[in-house]
Amino acid sequence: MITALLILSILAAVFGLILGYSSIRFKVEGDPIVDQIDAILPQTQCGQCTYPGCRPYATAIANGEAPINQCPPGGEATILQLADLLGVEPLELNPENGEESGPTVALIDEENCIGCTLCIQACPVDAIFGAAKQMHTIISDECTGCDLCLPPCPVDCIDMVPVKSETTNWKWSMPVSNDSTPKAK
């Protein structure tokens, strides 16, 4: 009787030590599900989801505080991917957050720019180049089209223009078919 108790207690202690050690040794840094959600979000950092950036929104989704349909730049594709990842039903994009539109890029009317630096401070990805009382310009390759530079501009010299379709980024469209073949899911 005593031997059995002793053996079990020793075993419990040994396993406890192993578990305790491995929880420290193999500690997972951060929350991997947040990272996975963040990887799906388009990273425009536009704040249309009502959270201050893509990562806070990802955290909110992971904690179950926000639905998956609040990201207009990602649109349907992002919602489908999120639904797939989290195993939930896909939702329609919430119109309160905005409408899905094609990719845009900011363009500064350099004639009218007064060099106030307000847009530089607003840009979430440092895609505006300039200095105080110097003309500013957009680094269009880095611009995510988030619209955040529009409100602070005192002279209204920033426009959002659609990303130009060129031979290098052109895509073949899906052939228009009139066949009635059931599509694979």
Binding site: Q43, Q45, V125, D126, N169, W170, W172, S177, D179, A184
Partner: protein
């Protein structure tokens, strides 16, 4: 000496080549205006070197290759740069791209030779590669990959077999055929340069058996120059045997691994027209400014091959081929299998333009598609051993991950599956759609990763700046507080005057305290003295009262 193999699938097609091979290659007439697109190859757009209004000479470099995959562009003739703007180009999208327009002066004045004038055998490999690179040579078989980069990318002396591709398997096209017939000697000289650069152990020229004159011409050229390390191999005519991987399979029996390059198995392919361009660059110091174009089809009056300057408008070429017949239905750039329809015929000829095909009827691919009946014909003919039907399901339902699992990117878009489909499903278009969509998604993913990184960096920078400011403020406050305490301490301890004053004050205070003590002469008094004092006090009192009353 070669045990020929064969690839799975493929089609035996009616060649239609004879209609354009009855006459020799004709030089095209110099047009009044040449429109030269800057992007004529796979890779980056080269850097523009000329300005509006500049006089350019024939062969002058007008756009220099950038770092990475890129190719230079040269002026096809002498004249004046009359426009640098976006013009419609021959591209399936029908979009515009940056072009340099040159108004030709008709003098055809060549620019000063720049390449070294010596026997190529005395030149180093690097010198030869530089000549090939500076001449803007790209693969003329259809892919337009910069040749110098292809040659440079393989490790030295790893190429066992150099295959010169003269198969030209697509119907109607005959530009390589005519080049081999008429300029076999020059092609062989070009091949010898490639042999030297690659140090290839074995070199073969591969030609389909429907081009007996070309084969004969090549063999004669080899005999005349007594060259015994280049062989001409005749292979059966079967579409798409001119595809790089299919050709390697036929000639060597080896298969190029998926996502791999022929160089991985010690093989390099070059087109005959590319070898000819190399000859012109090294021997004649002429960059790639012209190419042979087959103008053919059922709706042209005098089908023929033309030697055309890059940038020549297609309609001028059509006019030189006798113009369209009355029943013209459409114009295709390339062959009937892999070519694409052009919206109009005013577009410029580019390095990729091997054939202008006129059609009487509408493209067969335009016939309305019906439901897939799962006959499996497409899988039978696929030369890449793929499952076209499965790829079609997954591409049309945008299930791109599964399509990629089924090796979508090994599809060479040869069009065999579409051609045999009894339901006329435009299968290749689905694969093209899926491929470009996947590329776009990949690009978007890269962009969003970049945006995330920049955003995180910005957040970190703002936090760091705030921390630095706070720390500075804290230090300043601390310093102020310390100063105050120190000042007080100094005043108390160090100032001697104050100490003296304080000591004096203390003495005075002590004196004051002493003076408040009662005079000692009022102690121990006799009763008489006490009475006298009381009387005196009383008088004083009385006197004070009197004074008050008056």
């Amino acid at each position: 000496m070669f045990q020929l193999s064969h690839f799975k699938g493929g089609l035996v097609l009616d060649g239609h080549k004879k209609i354009s091979t009855s006459s020799a290659i004709k030089p095209a007439i110099l047009p009044a205006r040449l429109t030269v697109p800057l992007q004529q190859h796979i890779g980056h757009t080269p850097e523009l070197l000329v300005q509006l209004g500049d006089q350019v000479l024939k062969g002058q470099c007008i756009a220099k290759a950038t770092d990475g995959i890129s190719a230079s562009i040269h002026a096809p003739s002498s004249g004046r740069v009359s426009a640098i703007d976006e013009q419609a180009v021959a591209h399936p999208s029908g979009l515009k791209a940056l072009c340099v327009t040159i108004e030709t002066d008709g003098k055809e004045q060549w620019c000063e030779p720049s390449a070294l004038k010596q026997n190529y055998r005395d030149s180093s490999n690097q010198q030869l590669l530089n000549i090939i690179s500076d001449a803007g040579i790209v693969g003329l078989g259809g892919a337009t990959f910069p040749t110098a980069i292809k040659l440079q990318s393989c490790e030295p002396a790893t190429i066992n077999t150099l295959i010169i591709n003269g198969a030209e398997c697509e119907p109607y096209i005959s530009c390589d055929d005519m080049l081999m017939r008429e300029r076999a000697k020059d092609i062989v000289l070009g091949i010898q340069i490639l042999q030297q650069v690659l140090a290839a152990k074995q070199t073969v020229i591969v030609v389909e058996d429907n081009k007996p004159q070309a084969i004969q011409s090549l063999q004669q050229a080899l005999q005349k120059q007594a060259i015994d390390n280049i062989d001409v191999i005749t292979i059966p005519t079967r579409y798409p045997t001119g595809g790089e991987k299919q050709l390697i399979k036929v000639v060597t029996g080896k298969e190029v691994p998926a996502n791999g390059l022929p160089a991985d198995i010690g093989i390099l392919c070059q087109n005959v027209a590319t070898a000819y361009s190399v000859y012109r660059a090294v021997y004649l110091d002429q960059p790639l400014i012209s190419r042979i174009v087959t103008v053919t089809g059922d709706a042209i009056n005098e089908p023929a091959n033309f030697e055309v300057l890059i940038g020549t408008p297609m309609n001028e070429l059509i006019a030189q081929a006798g113009g369209y017949t009355a029943n013209i239905g459409g114009l295709v750039m390339g062959g009937p299998m892999m070519g694409f329809s052009l919206p109009n015929d005013t577009l410029p000829v580019t390095k990729a333009c091997n054939c202008l095909l006129t059609r009487v009827t509408e493209d067969t691919r335009q016939i309305p598609a019906q439901a897939c009946i799962r006959c499996g014909e497409c899988a039978e003919v696929c030369p890449a051993n793929l499952l076209p039907q499965q790829l079609y399901w997954y591409s049309s339902s945008k299930n791109f991950d599964r399509a990629q699992d089924l090796h979508l990117f090994d599809c060479i878009e040869c069009g065999c599956c579409s051609a045999v489909c009894p339901s006329h499903i435009p299968l290749v278009q689905y694969y093209r759609f899926a491929k470009t969509e996947i590329w776009a998604q990949e690009k978007e993913r890269k962009k969003s990763d970049n945006a995330r990184q920049r955003h995180e960096f910005r957040e970190a920078r703002i936090a760091r700046e705030k921390a630095e400011r706070d720390e500075k403020l804290r230090l300043k406050k601390e310093l102020l507080a310390k100063k105050k305490i120190e000042e007080e301490g100094q005043q108390a301890a160090v100032d001697p005057k104050k100490a003296v004053i304080e000591a004096a004050l203390a003495r005075v205070k002590a004196k004051k305290d002493n003076t408040t003590e009662k005079p000692k002469n009022t102690d121990n008094l006799t009763p008489q003295q006490q009475q006298k004092i009381a009387e005196a006090d009383q008088r004083r009192q009385q006197k004070d009262n009197k004074d008050e009353a008056t």
